[in-house]
């Protein structure tokens, strides 16, 4: 028993994070980041490895969160304390897994119907109050609470645009005459929405890229022994080599990208 404990301790000792590991971490992070970016040049094995690693790591992270923050305190601990009522939701939850075994997959229906019934029951009154009633209320409230003519104009514009957009998405009548006009105005409101969304998407995506570049810049520091530079150089070398070999193989015909 003691031997096992010692073995475990020395095994766990391997996982101590030392300053050396922190520097190495910079190399790993820079390496993985650049491998994924290499897809921009073209699809390549490094990208594929990093991408599959991402799937596995993501799943692994979720798994350990569920293990330590849900299954352990919500199922294991109560069972140890003798609260057997948690067995009902646990069995319902485990029943979902039978989906993967065709012969007994019907058992999973118990879990699914339990989840779906509950979710459906909750969503109906919520949609009515949050996305239906309150949106009508919000569209008409400026007509009473407006603080000035400009406010009133904007409120009226929201209500008007709202109705026009709804005409655009109204499929029970042919689009002719006034209906067509209204729906044509509606589409411009949609375009303003999409335009604003486009502009914001640009900022959002660039922010994410900035985040990665910022990290790469950090790891290009001397304290990380120029991890970014070295990894980038290695990858460029690979592509050059790859191109040389490829161009020999199939006469300079690079697959289109």
């Amino acid at each position: 028993m003691e031997f096992l404990a010692n073995l475990w301790n020395s095994f766990a000792g391997l996982f101590t994070v030392t300053p050396g590991w922190m520097t190495f971490g910079g190399w790993v992070a820079a390496g993985l980041t650049i491998c994924l970016f290499s897809f921009l040049y073209k699809d390549n094995p490094f990208f594929k490895v990093a991408e599959h690693l991402y799937l596995g790591v993501g799943m692994g992270w979720l798994f350990q969160v569920y293990l330590f923050q849900t299954w352990k305190p919500k199922v294991y601990a109560p069972l140890m304390e003798g609260q057997f009522s948690v067995l009902i939701p646990t069995l319902l939850g485990l029943s979902l897994v039978t989906q993967f075994f065709p012969r007994i997959s019907w058992i999973s229906r118990y879990g699914f119907t339990f989840i779906m019934g509950y979710g459906s029951g909750l969503v109906i009154p919520m949609e009515i109050s949050t996305n239906f009633l309150r949106q009508i209320g919000g569209s008409i409230s400026p007509f009473i609470g407006a603080t000035g003519p400009w406010d009133l104009f904007n409120g009226a514009l929201v209500a008007f645009g709202f109705i026009c957009v709804l005409f655009y998405f109204f499929f029970s009548v042919e689009h002719k005459g006034a209906v067509k006009k209204a729906s044509n105005i509606g589409i411009y409101f949609l375009m303003l929405y999409f335009g604003a969304a486009f502009g914001n998407t640009v900022m959002g995506r660039f922010s994410l890229l900035y985040g990665r570049f910022d990290d790469l810049y950090k790891y290009s520091d001397a304290s990380y022994f120029y991890a970014t530079h070295v990894v980038l150089g290695l990858l460029v070398a690979y592509f050059v080599l790859d191109k040389l070999v490829l161009s020999k193989k199939n006469g300079g015909q690079e697959p289109a990208h």
Binding site: Y54, R109, Y118, V123, N154, V158
Partner: protein, 222 residues
């Protein structure tokens, strides 16, 4: 058998659905106790729903490897990645930090998970730029309106763009941020709200179909 396989699950769905629906209108203690029990149970059941994603990822890559499908070697890295997190997690008891010290789990999160998942989406920035150049065509009045809104938002969000606006368009008397605020609080609200209503009713109809057992796709085939 069809009773156990089909009718009882559908009845559970109906019963749970109707009772939960009713609990919104019935404030009684019994209804609250019922809802409380459901919440606690759903919380645990959903904890196992995660296994579905895990198993489907694992089985699909397992099939790839066992069939030696093209690129099956990459599938091995899915398992490598999984162990790369789970083993340190077990060692550190699921704690990324113990006091001020980072554990191996925290190390994996910071250097592996963060860089991988951050970069997967950062790549899109590049495609936006190339789409902007090679595919963004202002070929109709509608596309022009879309562009105009996008132009103002792209410009007005960054300090340099605000300076450019102030330099060129300050005679309008409006700050670029004012224009963006107006866009976001007037036309965008109208456009988005118009889409919202349809989605809301679509959601209600789907929920009704599920409660009344008309929509059964989630149950799998008979």
């Amino acid at each position: 058998m069809i009773l156990i396989k089909k009718h009882i699950p559908l009845f559970i769905c109906f019963l749970v659905g109707v009772l939960t629906l009713g609990s919104y209108y019935v404030p009684n203690v019994h209804s609250e106790n019922y809802l409380e029990l459901m919440n606690k149970w759903e919380n645990i059941v959903a904890g196992f729903a995660f296994l579905l994603g895990l198993m489907s990822l694992f089985t699909s890559h397992f099939h790839k490897i066992s069939r030696k499908a093209p690129g099956w070697g990459y599938s091995l890295f899915v398992y490598v990645g999984f162990l790369l997190v789970v083993v340190p997690a077990v060692v550190s008891g699921g704690k990324p930090m113990i006091g001020p010290d980072m554990t191996s789990l925290g190390w994996i999160y910071r250097f592996v998970f963060t860089s991988l998942s951050g970069t997967m989406f950062a790549v899109l920035a590049f495609y936006i730029v190339s789409t902007a150049y090679r595919a963004f065509r202002i070929k109709s009045p509608q596309a022009f309106v879309l562009f105009a809104a996008a132009f103002i938002v792209i410009l007005g969000r960054v300090p340099l763009g605000q300076m450019m606006w102030d330099g060129l368009l300050s005679w309008t008397g409006y700050q670029v941020t004012d224009v963006i605020e107006w866009l976001m609080s007037v036309p965008v609200v109208a456009g988005r709200r118009g889409i919202m209503i349809g989605i809301a009713i679509g959601g209600i109809v789907t929920a009704l179909k599920i409660i009344f057992g008309i929509e059964r796709q989630y149950m799998g085939k008979d």
